[in-house]
């Protein structure tokens, strides 16, 4: 079977209280998930993006058996989350918040051994696995320091190691680079890419759209508990009809037939907006060659995932 994660019509309603004064409160229902459905294929990085409170973490919590859905079903690695929760738990590695989940007075290695043993590993198995993982995530000797001395970046690395301790086929990474400096975030992204090469399936949530676009093979946009768009970043851009900008610098000072603006190097630059960048560019270059113009630089500016995200969320 190609799908390793299947979510069908997941519904989650939370009861909250709206406080009115000291004693009064009105009960209120919040539909956090409203018939959320998607499939994730074996070995892919699938990103779930959406504004705060859209339902990303609720989805992850349901898929990891932490929350029970009010309606719908989900199958993880062939196991139903309600009928075989323990099999589901064994199949996934979870990172909900990179800085949380550790005993601060224990060392990184001791924390990893603890989690390994929760998944049924013996002390030696867990210790050997933990030693390999601290090398993989580049924690080195810091793994033997207590966690209360760790920076956020070190905790994020430890968090990734934690979810790999029982070698699960699926990883749920909820904002794994949130709050990290650019270098630490880059290291975590490299690690995530490396993990998919090892055959892991990853469900990622992030507010960093560049990160989502770089890492994921497919993206689902969730808003107010609904999946409002799903596909590869290219598919989403095409679906929304987002335009590419083509810039061609011409080295001749006088240029006819084209609208130009002054470029960075003082030469005229032709700018064209198109939804078919390759065809438009080839056509333009051929025309310029025929007319005897010399070409400087060529640049294609892609619409960003941020634009995709903004367009989808604002439209809905």
């Amino acid at each position: 079977m190609r799908e390793i994660i299947v979510a069908r019509n997941l519904v989650k309603i939370f009861k909250v209280k709206e406080r009115k004064g000291l004693f009064k409160s009105n009960p209120k229902l919040i539909r956090a998930l409203d018939r959320v459905s998607f499939e994730i294929y074996r070995g892919e990085i699938f990103s779930l993006v959406g504004p705060n409170g859209a339902g990303k973490t609720t989805t992850i919590k349901i898929l990891s058996t932490l929350l029970i859905p009010d309606e719908g079903e989900a199958i993880i690695n062939g196991y139903d989350i309600l009928k075989n929760p323990n099999k589901v738990r064994e199949s996934i590695g979870l990172t909900l918040s990179p800085e949380k989940g550790f005993y601060s007075r224990l060392t990184g290695i001791e924390n990893l051994v603890y989690y390994g043993r929760l998944y049924g590993l013996s002390k030696n198995e867990a210790l050997n696995k933990a030693k390999n993982l601290v090398e993989l995530v580049n924690l080195g000797k810091d793994a033997y320091r207590t966690v209360d001395e760790y920076s956020l970046g070190m905790k994020a690395k430890l968090s990734i190691a934690k979810c790999l301790i029982h070698d699960p086929p699926i990883l749920f990474l909820d904002e794994p680079t949130a709050g990290l400096d650019p270098l630490s975030a880059r290291r975590i992204r490299l690690l995530i890419s490396e993990l998919t090469k090892q055959g892991k399936t990853i469900l990622l949530t992030s507010h960093n759209m560049w990160e989502v676009e770089t890492l994921s093979s497919r993206v689902a946009v969730i808003n107010k508990g609904n999946i409002v768009a799903i596909g590869s970043s290219k598919e989403l851009k095409e679906k929304l009809g987002l335009k590419y900008v083509i810039e061609v610098e011409v080295l001749n000072n006088e240029i006819k037939d084209y609208e130009t603006s002054l470029g960075e190097r003082g030469n005229p630059v032709i700018k064209m907006i198109t939804d078919k960048p390759n065809e438009t560019l080839i056509k333009l270059i051929e025309e310029l060659k025929e007319k005897g113009y010399n070409i400087g630089y060529i640049r294609i500016i892609e619409p960003s995932m941020e634009e995709v995200f903004a367009r989808i969320v604002e439209e809905k």
Binding site: K12, S97, G101, L118, K123
Partner: protein
Amino acid sequence: MKKYINQFIAIFSVEIKSLMRQAGQFGFVIFLPFLFSFFTFGIGAGISGSISLEIWFYQLIGFTVLTLALIFTESSAWYVREGLLTGRLEYLLASPTHPLVVVTATALYNAIFALLMFFIIGFIGTIAVYGIAKILNFILSIFILVLFLLPMLGINLIVAGLTIIAKEPQGIIQPINSIISAVSGFVYPITLLPLFLQILGKSLPYYYAVENVRITITEFVNLLYLYPLPLLLLYFLSGIVIYRFLENIFIRKRGTYGW
């Protein structure tokens, strides 16, 4: 089975390691019963003019079991609260760890903490007042105390379950601990209390725990005083059922702790 043993050792050993790295807390808990017993003994001796070490010992055992009872009432509530604040509880619930393994491992850790405390204080007190003559009685009293830790564990789990609803343990722990301290006869005879408070005290396991420990050290094991134990074990059973129910409803179904 091997899996459950590994899970049990995982939880038990990290709690013990964490405790060992904050030994000051343990030292403080050992010191408290001595402080309070000397204080009340001093006042009593000052007022009555007579000095009886047996009275001090009565107070010492009372304050020791009181401290132990308070710790044993609130430990799981703090475990839940700490787990929620640090995110550890979510990861524990997302792992294939059996809930009974968690309860057993944390209970054993708490029991060892409590019994170690009781052993150190009780040993010093027994030697100081009775010499080595009552050491066997003292050791037997530890076994008696272990029996009463089970119903105490039940109340401990109910308090932990209520903490899941209330989110903050203090609002649950403080009234319960005040009631337990007042009606269980730790430092004064329960007969001094009005009848309804005596009934309340006798419906909880703490009164029987402290009375049986005192009787066992000063006299010997008296099975007649152990009669309520089978009934008190209902606290243990209902504690497990109530905690599991509240955890399932409030954490997994209602998502009380964030979504």
